[in-house]
């Protein structure tokens, strides 16, 4: 069994769904720094997905800094960076700017979006291990 929860839905790339589920589990504290992360083979067999897809997701999560591959030992959940890189906020600005544009085009006001953002933010708050919906 996997220590994080994932329900694959059709229509969305499996690789994206896996990256999102693991990111969510790390942010919510279901997976903690130093925890062992399943091998590509274990992942593909447990989720019944193509091993190439599992490999791609693990590689991407490694690039994001969420997982660390230790040769000969296995993959583990990475220690979070001490402080976010300064470039990180600039990258977020692009996504926030797209969100603001789309919200205004649809005619929502700022308060609606702030409420939505806050609700989603709270949903990701670390909780007791295992009780959080993946």
């Amino acid at each position: 069994m996997l220590s994080f929860r994932i329900d694959l839905v059709p229509g969305v790339p499996v690789y994206e769904q896996l990256v999102t589920a693991v990111t969510r589990a790390v942010v919510a504290g279901v997976l903690r720094p130093g925890d062992p992360f399943p091998s590509v083979r274990t992942l593909s067999q447990a989720l019944r997905i193509n091993p190439n897809t599992a490999q791609k997701a693990v590689a991407h999560l490694t690039t994001l800094g969420l997982l660390q591959v230790h040769p000969g030992v296995g993959t583990r959940v990475a220690q979070p960076a001490a402080a976010p890189r300064s470039a990180s906020l600039a990258e977020m600005r692009d996504q926030v700017s797209a969100l603001a544009l789309e919200a205004r085009r649809r005619g929502h006001d700022l308060q609606d979006i702030q409420d939505l953002l806050e609700a989603e933010w709270r949903r990701l708050e670390p909780s007791t291990r295992g009780t959080r919906r993946g």
Binding site: G11, S44, R48
Partner: protein
């Protein structure tokens, strides 16, 4: 590593009918490719040429690095092939089928066969004469996978099966593929149930290869769009818009080039219009795609 399945300029005619025209398909080692296309697009012909049930008229096909016309029987220790509506030997039940097949393969694995039967919900005592299509397909699949083939060539393994049986068959395939990274070429219309299995999709239409592309980039660029508003002019739609159809107060279409700027572009092109964008089920997307290719105004390679 060399690709285990390759065709180059592959052509086949039956009298005046062109079944395959200059098809260049590659299945990289360890990848699973789904071959889609309408009936008569040439899928079965391509798979039969690969396993030397048919010779090509032009070009060539290679399986495991060997020209298909020079394949020896020994290659079928490494290749699992299932024809459409696979014929089974006359045996009373599943156990007898496996007893029949076992001596042909040095790498036959009874433990794997047992796991597959559990995954497929197919007890060894299941009688085979007069069994349903689904039961016969599951039995054929166990016999095709239990010898650890490196390559699978499967023609419509899900055709005519109910939804539960289709899921079981895909789970059965993944029992082997998820553990061993088997190379797979599989013809099917049922892409949605195959999402967990496939790396790439190749589309044949009218004997030609329209595209071969990773599944995730296809999923990223296909969207269904519904545009509603006053006086929508369909001729302004961006390139790569397929299957444009009228709706009350607007039009719907399939875009094959969705990107981060699609919404902005549509908003600028059709001021005052409202639009809804949804991910299509892959099956619907390809039906729309095939419909456009067949239509009078179509151009080849519109993808």
């Amino acid at each position: 590593m060399a690709d285990l399945i390759v065709t180059q300029g592959l052509g086949r005619t039956f009298g005046k009918v062109v079944a395959l025209d200059d098809v260049g398909l590659h299945v990289p080692t360890g990848q699973a490719v789904g071959l889609i296309g309408s009936n008569g697009a040439g899928k079965s012909t391509l798979l039969k040429i690969l396993v030397n049930l048919l010779p090509p008229t032009s070009g060539r096909a290679e399986l495991c690095g060997v020209d298909s016309r020079r394949l020896r029987a020994s290659i079928f220790e490494r290749v699992g092939y299932m024809a459409e509506g696979q014929h089974l030997p006359r045996v009373p039940d599943v156990r007898a089928l496996l007893d029949y097949c076992r001596p042909f393969y040095t790498r036959w694995d009874d433990a794997l066969a047992t796991r597959l039967m559990a995954t497929l919900d197919l007890p060894p005592g299941t009688p085979l004469p007069r069994a349903s299509r689904g039961t016969r397909m599951k039995a054929a699949l166990v016999a095709t996978l239990a010898f650890h083939p490196e390559v699978l060539v499967l023609d419509e393994p899900l055709e005519g099966l109910d939804p539960l049986t289709r899921e079981q068959v895909v789970d059965g395939l993944l029992e082997l593929v998820s553990a061993e990274g088997t190379t797979v070429l599989l013809a099917s219309h049922d892409l949605d149930v195959l999402e967990r299995l496939l790396d790439q999709v190749a589309m044949l239409h009218d004997a030609r290869l329209v595209f071969q592309e990773p599944l995730e980039t296809l999923q990223a660029r296909y969207r269904l769009v519904e545009l509603t508003g006053p006086a929508i002019d369909a001729t302004l739609l961006p390139a790569g818009s397929l299957d444009v159809r009228p709706m009350p107060d607007g039009i719907s279409f399939l875009t094959t080039s969705f990107g981060s700027d699609t919404e902005v572009t549509l908003g600028a092109t059709f001021p005052g219009a409202t639009f809804r964008i949804a991910r299509p089920a892959l099956r619907e997307a390809f039906i729309a795609h095939a419909r456009t290719l067949r239509g009078p105004a179509s151009t080849r390679g519109a993808a």
